[in-house]
Symmetry: C2
Subunit: 219 residues, 2 copies
Amino acid sequence: MTTSALPALSDIEDRTIPGVLRIENSDREATAPIIMDRLRSVYPHDQIFGMFCPVQDYIAVPPRELYAYLADPRSLEEWSYGMRGFAETDQPGLWVAADRLVPDTEIYIRTVANPDAMTVDYHCAWDQGEHLWMVYLMRVIDAQVVLNKPGSVVTWINCHHPFYDENPYPETAPPGREEWVGDLWEMFSAGHKLELGNLKAIAEYRASHGLPITPDWMR
Amino acid sequence: MTTSALPALSDIEDRTIPGVLRIENSDREATAPIIMDRLRSVYPHDQIFGMFCPVQDYIAVPPRELYAYLADPRSLEEWSYGMRGFAETDQPGLWVAADRLVPDTEIYIRTVANPDAMTVDYHCAWDQGEHLWMVYLMRVIDAQVVLNKPGSVVTWINCHHPFYDENPYPETAPPGREEWVGDLWEMFSAGHKLELGNLKAIAEYRASHGLPITPDWMR
């Protein structure tokens, strides 16, 4: 090992920023108890799923095929719990479906997918398609690279947008609807795991039965 | 709402796959107790951080600037706990540094970044640069989109690659080293949060002091 340290933080006075723990100012002996103090045998729900809602799973399906399936918003007609009747609006790329979780509720969706990074972001909103603030950030990863076996890892995260706490566009809601999507935030972790389980079961069923992951009706 | 359901799962016999819960075969009344049963007031460490290690945070820095900083592996010289002395090897894009967590240990790193998706993947390994199996998957997200405020959300996930459990290339380890990187997997959640906290503190310090996020020495 012949490399020498680079001028890290050389633009900062004394190279010191409060709260930064680096081996130079906090050696391993000093840092170990800090780390141990932050580990818990159990973590409260809100600490893990309060501000962000990350779920992930391994799916035994080739990553390219799984990505292509997810990148079509109509895949949600299959693996989501209750989004049904996807139809493209008169704005290209903006889709609408019924969110059958609640009566008379439309969900608008625009998919932003990147084939190189294999990210699939569903930008959604209940009731209106002008401001798509509910964002489902997903990514397909080649499991060969990260788990040393064929298949895919799928990551999915939602962020706790303040509109979950209060509907910013109440005038677009159907009359008399009592529920708001954000009332369900506390259940998102379990609900999203259920839906990720659907995705896994559907995709693995097709892969193991020689069926194309993206079914003919979506082509 | 005039859309009608699409032919979901029409390639599957009886449109039925074991384990798939959709509103058609499990209505909200039937599904609610399943969801509630999967929610907990607390979750064991291994359930949350055993197979995957997701951490994330909000950082009050413009996303494009934060992405550009992260996309340069030398940023780790600053915000990582102990990777120091980054130098490019004779293979373009493959860097080596000392992982000062343990004596005499080199870490090899190749960064795969996508400016459109703002993903930054650090493909790493201790001791050798031929098989980069430790993969740090990061992503910068525009907080305006997902949290309705300026700044960035950074997500970071590692997958529990089997090599964490057993060093596949022991012949490349320095003689006498007793520790293996995978011995630390149980502490990754706290360790990565510590490092993400470093990233946040450094980037926010620069942003709030009018300094460029990527310092001159990295340019």
